[in-house]
């Protein structure tokens, strides 16, 4: 008998929760494929190490962009491999709950459920990421009070107001932490004439990236390829430069939070001032982002204790209480 699963199929990372066991898998959403034979060569951490460093016949790709499937075939193979790795065989077909962005279209929704069913699930249900995040962050969403959750992932930023077990207001944009990496890449190329890869851009973001000035502002030496000579080159980047480079995606994230606040009923607005907003997702870990949202909205922002796992924990709770929480799944609202 298969144990039912909850999957947070994120643009950046994929996490799997197994009923009765907890989180059993957490790795990058990357797959490396042999372009000639179509054979899968690596997934997760192994495939992540290959990004930008493969010979021409190997392609290491992220099959999801902005939370949506860009390559159906590769996503199906990735889900199949994930299920195999957590012990799902041809004869054990579990029920699967998958976390998806709330702004997902009907076509994208069908692509995810079809890919999951074809990969070996007996039933595939979808749950909106901010709803799952609020459950996983242990917010008091069973009470008639406003709970605001901001989920910043690799490809999306979603803000939701939740009260009495349901979504009251929602705002989602397809801007996430990968857009911050891309902004850094573009800036270094434009201002320093040096090409860097997406992994280097991510390292810069983690090392010296910030949304607000702070005491930890530093500089870092980065290595890339000179666009004029084609030779390797080292340039020094300051935290202020990076802040300037990433201002556009960060401003878009803050604006989407403001729009969600404006959509919320006035009765709940006082709850946000008293209880604050909760930040989850890997993108929310950018230094100074909570402070910037707090400064621009004048509402306190708190970081969830488990920002990377909150979404899959919430979906995991739904799989543990499948019958009682069926109404949470997309398309089955009561």
């Amino acid at each position: 008998m298969a144990r039912d699963l909850a999957i947070d199929l994120g643009t950046a990372n994929t996490l799997v929760y197994m009923k009765g066991k907890g989180i059993v898998l957490n790795e990058p959403s990357v797959i490396a494929v042999n372009r000639q034979s179509g054979e899968v060569l690596a997934t997760g951490h192994d495939a992540w190490d290959m990004i930008g460093r493969t010979p021409s016949y190997i392609v290491a790709v992220r099959p999801l962009r902005g939370g949506a499937i860009t390559d159906f075939d590769i996503t199906e193979r990735m889900i199949r491999l994930l299920l195999q790795r957590v012990g799902v065989s041809r004869f054990t077909r579990p029920k699967v709950v998958i976390c998806v962005p709330s702004a997902i279209t009907e076509v994208e929704r069908r692509a995810v459920t079809d890919a999951t069913r074809r990969a070996g699930a007996s039933d595939a249900q979808l749950i909106e990421q901010p709803m799952a995040a609020a459950i996983g962050a242990n917010l008091p969403i069973d009470e008639p009070v406003g709970n605001m959750v901001i989920d910043i992932g690799g490809g999306t930023t979603e803000t939701a107001v939740i009260s009495l077990g349901g979504v009251v207001a929602l705002e989602a944009i397809r801007v996430g932490s990968f857009d911050i990496d891309a902004a850094i890449q573009n800036y270094v190329r434009r201002e320093h004439g040096v090409a860097i890869g997406e992994r280097t851009a991510e390292e810069i973001k983690i090392q010296i990236g910030s949304a607000e000035p702070g005491p930890q502002d530093r500089s870092a030496d980065i290595r890339g390829r000179d666009l004029v000579t084609g030779l390797p080159k080292t340039v020094r980047l300051t935290a202020e430069e990076v802040r300037f480079a990433i201002d556009e995606p960060v401003a878009a994230m803050v604006l989407s939070v403001k729009r969600c606040l404006a959509k919320a009923p006035p009765e709940l607005a006082q709850d946000f001032l008293a209880r604050g907003m909760y930040l989850v997702g890997g993108g929310g870990m950018l230094r100074g982002l909570a402070a910037r949202i707090e400064r621009e909205t004048e509402v306190p922002v708190k970081m969830s204790p488990q920002p990377l796992e909150a979404v899959v924990l919430g979906a995991g709770h739904c799989i543990e209480n499948y019958q009682a929480l069926r109404g949470m799944f997309m398309g089955t609202r009561r």
């Binding site: 066991k21 907890g22 459950i135 009495l164 924990l313 995991g316 009561r334």
Partner: protein, 68 residues
């Protein structure tokens, strides 16, 4: 003849009224059951989201983390 048709009419009238009353009673009875179902479902849904109910899922993850 007139008396017979009077009684037939009376019986028909009583039968129709009784039938209609029965149908109305069944309708309201079913409606009450549906309302109760909605309340019970909503209560189950909210109870499943209570911090106590969620404790086990979150605790399970924390204990797994400690083990790893």
């Amino acid at each position: 003849m007139i008396a017979m048709s009077f009684f037939t009419g009376l019986f028909a009238f009583i039968a129709i009224v009784s039938g209609a009353t029965l149908l109305i009673m069944i309708y309201f009875d079913n409606r009450n059951v549906r309302i109760d179902d909605g309340i019970a479902n909503f209560r189950r849904h909210i109870d499943a989201l209570s911090p106590e109910a969620r404790q086990s899922s979150v605790h399970r993850n924390n204990s797994e983390d400690r083990r790893n």
